[in-house]
Symmetry: C3
Subunit: 388 residues, 3 copies
C-alpha cells in the first residue's frame, strides 16, 4: 500500500470542487480535478488489488440509462456503484413509460428520489447526447432546489456525441502508468488516428475525448484522418487551446504513417465523419430507413477507399523505437479475426492485446473515483480512513 | 428530526397487525394500520432528508413482477427495497419459463426461497390482477406451511385492476402534508373526476384507489364522469360505506364543473369505462387483435365526445378560492405538450407541476413503510433504534 | 442449530481443494469435495431457517450469463449471490456487444474486473456449452496471470450440454435428507428414466448429471429409455466407472416399468436423443430453420410412439412399497395440467408436488456453497464464525 501514501499526499495539495457536480466533459474540469481523479482511481485500484473494500454508502441507488449497446462500460459502471455500496437500477426506456411521451424533466426526477448518480450513454445522435445529459442535470437541479429531491444526483457521462470521459480518463491512467507520471507525459507524442473499419457510424467521442484530454499535459498530439473524416470543429478548437496552454502541440495530418512517425503512443480507431453524423441525425429522427441505408452505402464506399489505414507491423516500425504503446477502447476490428480487414492487423493486436485489457481495467476505478468525488463533501478525508 | 418524535409517539398508541401480511387493498387494512403507514413513511422521509440510513436487512431478495410498463413505481420499488437492504430481482416473464405453462403456484415458490417481498403490477385484465396477487399469496402461504419456504414473503400490490394502494397512500401523504394532519382532512372536498385523453384502456385502479381511501377520513368525495364511464360497482360501494362510517360524504356527479365546485383538492384523470374493460379482458385473452382494434376505435370515438372534460384555468376557478390542490399520478396527458388535447391544460399543469413531483416523491417511502410493517415483528421498536 | 455442529465436525476431516476453482462437472470433484458441498449447503440451509445471515462479502459482483430461458436457476443464483453479499449483473448478450464479434476471451475479462463468480447456463448446443465455460475460465485465468484481473472469478456451471451440477447436487441433498445420510444411499435403487413429452429438444444434462453423480454413493442406478434415446456415451462411461468404484451398480434398461421395479427413487424426465441433439447443433449454427423444423417433426413423431412412458399410479406401484420418492427438476409436463399427455400423471404429480418444491429449495443453498467453497481460502473457519 505504498502507492496509497504517495497518492494521498499529492491529493492533499489539490483544489477540488467536484462535490455535487456532474461529470460531462473532461475540459469542464480543472487540471487539479483531472489529476485528483487519477489519484483517487489509483487509490481504489491499489485497495482493490489488496482486497480492501471501499464501500462508502450503506444504501442508495445509481441509475444507468443506456441508449446504445454496451458491455464494458455497462459492467464498469455496475462494478463501480457496487463497490461504493450503491444499488444499480437500469432505466430500460423500452420497458418504462419514457417512450410514452414523458418529458425528460419529469422522468429525471421520478428516478431520482433515492438516487446518488445517474450514468448515461447516449452517443447515437450528433448534437443530442450531451444536450440530453444537461437536461437531466437541470431537471434534478430543479427538483432539488424545489425540495422534491433530498439530494441532487450527479450525472456521469458514459459516452455521448462529444466526449467519452470515462474512456479518456482510463486511457490517461494507462499512459500515466506507462510513463510513470503525468509530468513524464510532457513531450511524448500520441497519434490519434482514424483507421479503416468495415462498419459504419462509429461515434466521434473517443477521438474527441483523447485529443481534448491528452493535449492538457504537454503531449504532442497528432490527429490523423483521410480527407472528409474530420471531428466536431469546436472540440478540435478545445484541443488546440489546451495544447497551447499546456505547452504541448497539436497537429492534424492526413496519413497514419505521418502520425505514427516517432510516436510514443498510437491510438488507431475508426469513426464516422462529422458531416456524415450530421446528416444521420435528422434521418434517425425521421426514422427514414431508406435514407439511412443510402447514407450507409455511401459511407461504406468512402471507407473502402481507405483500407490502407490499418495499424500493421510495418507502420508500427515507424513509431519510437518501433515500440509505441498501442491503445484501443475495444472492441477493435481486427483483420482476419473479427473482420476480413479492419483497424489493426492480427499480429499487432495479439502482441498488444493484454495491454488493451489493462487499459480497460482502469475504467471501473475511474468511474468509482468520479462518483466518489462528486458525492462526498470531504473525499480526501474519507479516502484516508479507508486506506487505514 | 422533530417530526420523528411526534410520529413515534403517535405510532405507540396504534394497533398494528400487518406482520407477515400482504398489502393488496387499502380497505382490507384498519384505520390504525393506514395511519401507521403514513407515520412510518414520514419517519423514513425525514430520515432520508437528514441522510440517515434505515437499512434493516443485511441480505435477502425482493422480487418484482411487472406485467405492464412502469417507470415511477418500478423505481419507487427499487428505491424502497434497496433502502431496506434487500436485493432486487425482477421476474421478466418473457425471459423466464412462466410463459411455458408453469403454474403460478409453482413459480411463486420457486422465486421465494430467500425472498422477503414480492411486488406485483398487473392492471391490464379486469377481474384478474388482484386475483393473481392472491394466488401468489396463497402459493407462498402453502409453501411456508409445508416447510418449503423458511419465510413467507409479503405480496405488495403495485397496481392491479381494483386498487393502486402505493399510489393512493402516497396521495394520502400528500393531502395529509398539505392540510397538516389526517384530522384536518375532515370536511375537505376532493373531486376525483374523469378527464379526456386521446389514449384508451387506462386502468380504473387510480380513481378506485382514491375513492376507496379518501372516504375514510371524513372527506367529501365527489366522483365525476360522463355517462357510461362508471367504475367497478363493488368498489363504489366500498367508498359509500367508508364515507358513512367516517362521517364524510360520497357523491357521483356527471360534470367536472360540479365536482370542482368548492373543491379543496382536484384529481382529474382519464380511465376506460368499466364495461369496456369487461369486454376487453376476453379479447385480450383470446388475442383477438381485430376485436381489440374495433373496441379501441369505438372507445376513442366515445372519448372524443368528452373533450371538454379538461382541467383548465376556468374550471380551476370553480374550486375553493380558485386554489385547489391539483393531483395526478403522472404521467398526465397535457394539452399542447404531450398531446393535442388532454386531461389538463398546459398552464394549469405547469403551475402545479412541482406539486405532482412532490406527490410522486412519497411513493418510495410508502413502499418502504409497507415492506417494513409487513416484515418486522416489532416495527416501532426498530424504528426507534433507527431514529437515534 | 444442532445440525450445524454435526456438519462442522464432519467438514473438519475433509480434504477440500476448491479454492479459486471453477465448478463445471461433478465428476471433476473428489468425493470429499462433493460431501463438503452438501455439508456447507446444509449449514447455510439451517442458518437461513434460523434467520441468521451469512454474508461474507462487503461488495463485489457476480455475473450471470443465461443463453437459455430460466426461472428457478436464475432466482437460485440471484438468491445465492445476494446472500453472500455480492451484487448481481446479468450479461444480456442481446444488449451487449458480444453479438458484435467480440471474442469470448475479451468479454470474459471485460466483465470480471471486480467479479467473484460467473454463472453460465448454456445448454442449447451439444458439444458447446461446457466448452464455452472452459473458454471463459481460461480467459479469466490468463487475465489473472497477466495482472489484468486482481482476482480470478470462478465459473459456475448453471447447466450445460453435459452436466447440470447445481440441479444434481440439489437432488443429492434431497435424497440425502430423505434417507438420512450419504452412507444410507448405499444399495438404494434410483430409476433415472426417459418420459414422454409433447415438446422436443430438452437437454440431456439432467439425466447425465444424475447418473454421473448418484453412481458415486453405492446406489443402484437404473437408466431407462426407449431405443434411440441414448445419452452422451462418455458420460454413460463415467457413470459405469463411478458405480464400479463406489460399489454400486449401473444398468441400462429399455422400459420405465423395469427401472421402476423395486426403486427407492424415481426420476422420470423427458430428453431429446443424443443423436438428434448432434444433428441439431449444426442446424442451429447455420440458422437452418427448414432443417430444424424437419428435425423437430421427425423427433415429435418418434416421441409420440412412446406416450406410454408416463409416470402414473400403476407404474408407481412397481416401486419399493409403492412409495418411491418422486423427483423432478421442474417444470414437469403433467398430463391434463400443462399438456394433454406428458411425463407424469396428474395424480402422481399432485401427491409429490411439495416434495419437488423441497427438492428445488436446495438449489440456492447449493449455489451459495459452491461460490463459498470456490472463493474463500479457509471456508470452514469462516463457517464456524458465521455459525456462532
Amino acid at each position: 500500500m505504498n502507492t496509497l501514501k504517495t497518492q494521498l499526499a499529492e491529493l492533499q495539495d489539490l483544489k477540488i470542487a467536484t462535490y455535487g457536480k456532474d461529470f460531462l466533459l473532461t475540459w469542464e474540469k480543472t487540471d487539479d480535478e483531472i489529476r485528483a481523479l487519477t489519484l483517487v482511481a489509483e487509490c481504489f485500484y491499489a485497495m482493490h488489488k489488496a482486497r480492501k473494500p471501499f464501500r462508502v454508502f450503506d444504501t442508495g441507488l445509481a441509475v444507468s440509462i443506456f441508449r446504445d449497446k454496451s458491455t464494458r462500460t455497462r459492467f464498469s459502471f455496475a462494478s463501480a456503484v457496487n463497490a461504493l455500496g450503491l444499488g444499480l437500477s437500469e432505466l430500460d426506456e423500452e420497458k418504462s413509460q419514457i417512450a410514452h411521451g414523458e418529458t425528460v424533466r419529469e422522468t429525471a426526477n421520478m428516478i431520482s428520489f433515492m438516487t446518488e448518480a445517474i450514468g448515461i450513454r447516449d452517443d447515437m445522435y450528433l448534437g443530442e447526447g450531451n444536450t440530453y445529459m444537461r437536461e437531466v442535470g437541470q431537471a434534478v437541479q430543479e427538483g432539488f432546489e424545489k425540495g422534491v429531491l433530498h439530494q441532487r444526483p450527479s450525472v456521469i457521462n458514459l459516452q455521448c456525441d462529444v466526449d467519452h470521459p470515462t474512456q479518456a480518463m482510463a486511457d490517461l491512467m494507462q499512459v500515466k502508468g506507462h510513463f510513470g507520471s503525468l509530468e513524464k507525459l510532457r513531450g511524448k507524442k500520441i497519434a490519434m488516428t482514424w483507421a479503416y473499419s468495415p462498419s459504419y457510424g462509429k461515434p466521434l467521442s473517443v477521438p474527441q475525448g483523447i485529443i481534448g484530454l491528452m493535449t492538457r499535459f504537454g503531449m504532442q498530439v497528432s490527429l490523423a484522418y483521410p480527407e472528409g473524416y474530420g471531428l466536431i470543429p469546436e472540440v478540435v478548437e478545445v484541443a488546440r487551446q489546451n495544447s497551447r496552454k499546456s505547452g504541448g502541440s497539436f497537429e492534424v495530418v492526413s496519413s497514419m504513417e505521418e502520425a505514427f512517425k516517432g510516436a510514443d503512443v498510437v491510438y488507431p480507431k475508426s469513426w464516422a465523419p462529422y458531416h456524415v453524423m450530421q446528416r444521420r441525425t435528422p434521418l434517425l429522427h425521421k426514422g427514414d430507413k431508406e435514407g439511412l441505408k443510402q447514407l450507409e452505402k455511401e459511407c461504406l464506399t468512402n471507407n473502402a477507399k481507405h483500407k490502407d489505414w490499418e495499424c500493421d507491423e510495418q507502420k508500427m516500425k515507424l513509431t519510437k523505437g518501433g515500440e509505441a504503446l498501442y491503445m484501443h477502447c475495444l472492441p477493435a476490428d481486427i483483420s482476419g479475426v473479427s473482420c476480413a480487414q479492419g483497424e489493426v492487423s492480427k499480429n499487432v493486436f495479439e502482441k498488444c492485446r493484454i495491454g488493451t485489457y489493462q487499459e480497460a481495467s482502469y475504467k471501473p476505478f475511474i468511474i468509482t473515483a468520479m462518483i466518489f468525488l462528486a458525492r462526498l463533501q470531504d473525499p480526501v478525508a474519507v479516502l484516508k480512513k479507508l486506506a487505514k
